[in-house]
Subunit: 397 residues, 2 copies
């Protein structure tokens, strides 16, 4: 186990009706709010009206930034930061999923910075101040509600980049699983994969001696595998939505990665896809993950992949490579069972752009930690994920 620091200052208010605490939480920081949200879903669900009523009841002034898109854009950030400066906003409140929350975080930092917020992503500036952020979560996926990170798209440069700062931890997050009852089947499946991908990126690590972190990761994976399909079949199953929502927060609040080198290669590759195409992040991950697992499987990584197969999928196979392959097959079958696409070609990615993505993904050096991936490795993974023959590949080995 490696040395680590951990500090998660976000106050979580979890459960039915917890929106009742929103006014009190906001007033800890001020009475002038920038309300950030996406499309019309919070208007259709009535959540928007509820939030406005709470503002009114508590004497809270607000300005709005709506239209934040999945794979949120730096243009929205710039707009939000300008609104904060213009209206002396004291707290940025995100109501939505991970994209809205990520956008709100960088708005909060941009509001306290004289330059352009994209500077935080190009290392031209570090985040040294930020408005407080609060969140009302409507979709279990990114874990952004309990972590200090954000990922933003820049259409001009065709880049999707991440940044983070302890200043960006939401001060509070209201997690009411009922808000996710109306999440579409596609988004529910993609969200479940997104949670699982965060677990994988921290679970598959070259660091020895991290048994407690590994067992905790398996616990969360089993939760996703159990409840993902239930939430798909019964969108208003509170138990399923609650377990998925709380797991989304726990999976990326730092506990699973504490004391380990983490990987993140699959995320880095996916970010190149969704920088160019408007692909749902979790869907991109669902396509890539089995191919990444299959590509990194060798004598050295087999014991850990076999451990995954045995502990998560109850694969009863003593030989490591065979067990690992069975676990990868189970993973791909599980994603398929949730009606997620199985190849990049299916979702409109163009073969002729794969090399460009591999190039950009490795422009700062090789990816990953569990196994280092150079340009050619990334291209091979992208090519295999484009072709989409995982089941054949696993059969033919």
């Amino acid at each position: 186990m490696l040395n680590f620091n951990i500090h998660v200052p976000t106050r979580i208010r979890f459960g039915r009706g917890k929106i009742a605490d929103l006014g009190e939480e906001i007033l800890n920081y001020g009475d002038k709010v920038l309300l950030v949200y996406g499309g019309g879903s919070i208007k259709r669900s009535g959540l928007y009206d509820q939030v406005l009523q709470i503002f009114q009841d508590n004497g809270i002034d607000h300005v709005e930034l709506s239209g934040v898109q999945p794979n949120p854009k730096i243009s929205s950030v710039r707009q939000g930061a300008a609104l904060c400066k213009e209206h002396d906003v004291q707290l940025v409140l995100a109501v939505g999923g991970g994209s809205t929350i990520d956008c709100a975080k960088i708005i909060a930092a941009g509001a306290r910075y004289d330059g352009d917020a994209w500077d935080f992503f190009t290392c031209k500036a570090r985040i040294s101040d930020a408005l407080p952020v609060g969140t009302v979560l409507t979709l279990a996926a990114t874990g952004s509600e309990m972590n200090p990170n954000a990922v933003i798209n820049n259409d001009d440069t065709e880049q999707k980049l991440g940044t983070g700062s302890p200043l960006l931890y939401p001060r509070f997050s209201i997690l009411d699983p009922e808000y996710s009852f109306t999440v579409s089947p596609e988004q529910t499946a993609a969200g479940t994969v997104d949670i699982m991908s965060h677990i994988f990126e921290q679970y598959f690590s070259p660091t020895p001696g991290t048994l407690v972190q590994n067992r905790l990761a398996e616990a969360m994976l089993k939760t996703c595998i159990h409840y993902g399909p239930i939430a798909l079949a019964q969108p208003d199953n509170y138990e399923a939505r609650a377990n998925l929502m709380w797991t989304s927060s726990l999976a990326l609040n730092g506990i699973l990665g504490a004391g380990k080198r983490t990987d993140w290669a699959t995320h880095d590759i996916e970010h190149e896809i969704s920088a160019l195409y408007d692909v749902t992040h979790g869907l991109g991950l669902a396509i890539l993950i089995p191919y990444w697992m299959h590509y990194v499987l060798d004598e050295q990584t087999a014991p850990r992949l076999a451990e995954y197969a045995r502990n998560v999928w109850e694969i009863d196979e003593s030989e490591d490579i065979a067990a690992a392959r069975a676990g990868i097959r189970k993973t791909a079958e599980f994603f398929k069972s949730m009606n997620l696409a199985g190849s990049l070609s299916e979702i409109g990615v163009e073969a002729e752009r794969l090399a460009e993505m591999a190039e950009k993904a490795t422009s700062q050096g090789p990816l990953g930690a569990f196994r280092k991936l150079e340009y050619q490795d990334v291209l091979n993974i992208l090519q295999a994920a484009y072709d989409g023959n995982i089941f054949d590949a696993l059969k033919n080995a």
Copy 2:
């Protein structure tokens, strides 16, 4: 899953050499410290000298309260609170295990209260202010380093009572597993059981729909079961000490109990034992736990106890009662394998005081949530634990 709030503000600095951060952490709060510790073990290990050197290097003044005992006494708390008032202390620093930390927490509250600190335990006063507390942990057991609770003994009234307040979360905790290399075999075993007991108290719950919490609890139990014996056999095994230490913090920082009704009956019963006898808390728990499990096992609780047996001990038995009994046997065997006593009579508890303990334990009403325990239930458990025939009891059923 029930609604919950969670907020764990403690900054954890985990790993070898993390004591180097102590000066910086203290100076966030001031330069006048009350150093609280127990016996001579931190002097023998050199940690005391190291801490004093850090004080000197950082211009930190200090006063000392030493001699804090296991099952820490309200008399120590009173002494410490008086020192804080007299010397305008700005931070209470506990260097030691859970008893020292618990004592430091109530000192910190007592320092900001005009009355007697025992009032916090008798509901005569609520904790409404407290000095900040920091900790340097030397023993993996109580989880006090990352939670807002404390348990204190009052010899005059023969009471051992707990209290808590969000104000009592340590602001920072330095967790260096190497400090636990010198923990004795008895304390290592008792500490491992203490961690497991915290997990059990939250795992066995009447609340349905908490799969993620249950799987996380099993992950932590498996970690204790794996590493407890290794730490006993190889006291300087860093991996074992690190996994146990981090698990001790995670087991009682709120994550496992969030969204559930928790039990705590075994703790309540054990507190009556260590209020009268100077028994190591973890040893008292090791004796009680199998008898509690055996006593509460019935048709209604069998599925959960069977789940424990199957998921933690890999019991392959489809009938719930039989599986549960096999899990209880494994638990008792595990504690025995760590050379812990198996009956209250062995550790000097007197048969004629069992009724008094049962009386006091239930004086505020029945105990527990997984199954409610009245006076006679508690007496039955104490009597069975006194006799110590768990293996016969399991055989004869």
